[in-house]
Symmetry: C2
Subunit: 198 residues, 2 copies
């Protein structure tokens, strides 16, 4: 009876995400600036991110509260260990996703970068690692990579109507998004899919 929490409305969890899109970019900006200039000040971050100093000031104050950012002896901004870790995670997710979109899926570079940028902070370390693993596998197995590239090169829009998609023709997977609407008795039927991965 409590197992249906598995299917529970997940849609509001976005707000409970570890890190915000904006926070991630403030962290990465500080990191970038320290790497490139050796130091990072509020003004530099603001300029890099193209926001006002006021906005940067307030956002960075939040990051200090969260202990992702501190100041060094010279009062310049630095990432704490945890801050560095968050920044690296997002940075890595960005690279993984953009490479996946561009090199595996064959999406244009612009779109690949734009979409990777939107999703980078939403992917878990676990999923990111698995995606890297998949890409490593594909890229290190010449014939597989070639086949997939060939397949992707033959990609044609197709599937024009979003309403009907070849992959989703079997409606086996789409799990109910919002818990149980009407009382749908046996909730064990949800796991009737022992046919994969054996």
């Amino acid at each position: 009876m409590s197992e249906k929490a598995t299917e529970r409305a997940c849609w509001r969890d976005v707000q409970k995400n570890d890190i915000t899109h904006s926070a991630a970019h403030y962290l990465m900006a500080i990191d970038t600036l320290r790497e490139q200039n050796g130091y990072a000040r509020v003004t530099d971050v603001a300029e890099l991110l193209e926001v006002t100093r006021g906005a940067a000031s307030i956002s960075i104050a939040q990051l200090k509260k969260r202990e992702w950012v501190t100041e060094d002896k010279h009062r310049f901004l630095v990432l704490t260990e945890e801050g560095k870790h968050m920044a690296m995670l997002v940075e890595q997710n960005f690279r993984t996703l953009s490479r996946f979109f561009e090199e595996v899926l064959g999406v244009s570079r612009e779109v690949a970068l734009a979409e990777a940028c939107k999703m980078e902070h939403l992917m878990s370390l676990e999923t990111g690692k698995r995606l890297v693993w998949l890409m490593k596998y594909i890229l290190s197995h010449g014939h597989t990579a070639a086949e997939i590239h060939q397949a992707m090169n033959c990609f044609k829009p197709g599937c024009e109507s979003v309403e009907h998609c070849p992959l989703c023709e079997d409606d086996s997977v789409p799990p109910s998004r919002y818990g149980v609407l009407a009382d749908s008795g046996n909730s064990e039927s949800g796991m009737a899919q022992g046919d994969r991965c054996e």
Copy 2:
């Protein structure tokens, strides 16, 4: 000189996304309710999404302004053609992503659903189609699918430190995130990739 916009700060484009995470779920909720109950009212949507009627009322008013939602003869909520299209797109992205995470990457169902839910509204139709295409290819080529599944089953955390990742060891790809810091002259090199889809 204006071509460097290619590498320009993309990080604020998230706000310019076609649809908001919350808007997407309001649309899908209306769609779900009409399918399940035959009608959708503000109260039903609020209950389904677990928000107050006040919040639902205001959000739905916005959707009406955008002409994604109207009312039928009985004053019940309905999606317009455009609204339906947006809802279908997000719904499809959700299915695609969750299946990809779960079936291809081997992520647990919970995580797969949660992350798909966060990203569903951020993936373009184009990328979504290509991902479907890739999955179709993988799943329809027994040996490839088997190999990949085997590889993914052998997945071990590895790559423990986020700082150093096997895939990203060659720093060839990571494009500068925030425009040009120092003046980096020639920007035409960005489009050196005319090798697809001919």
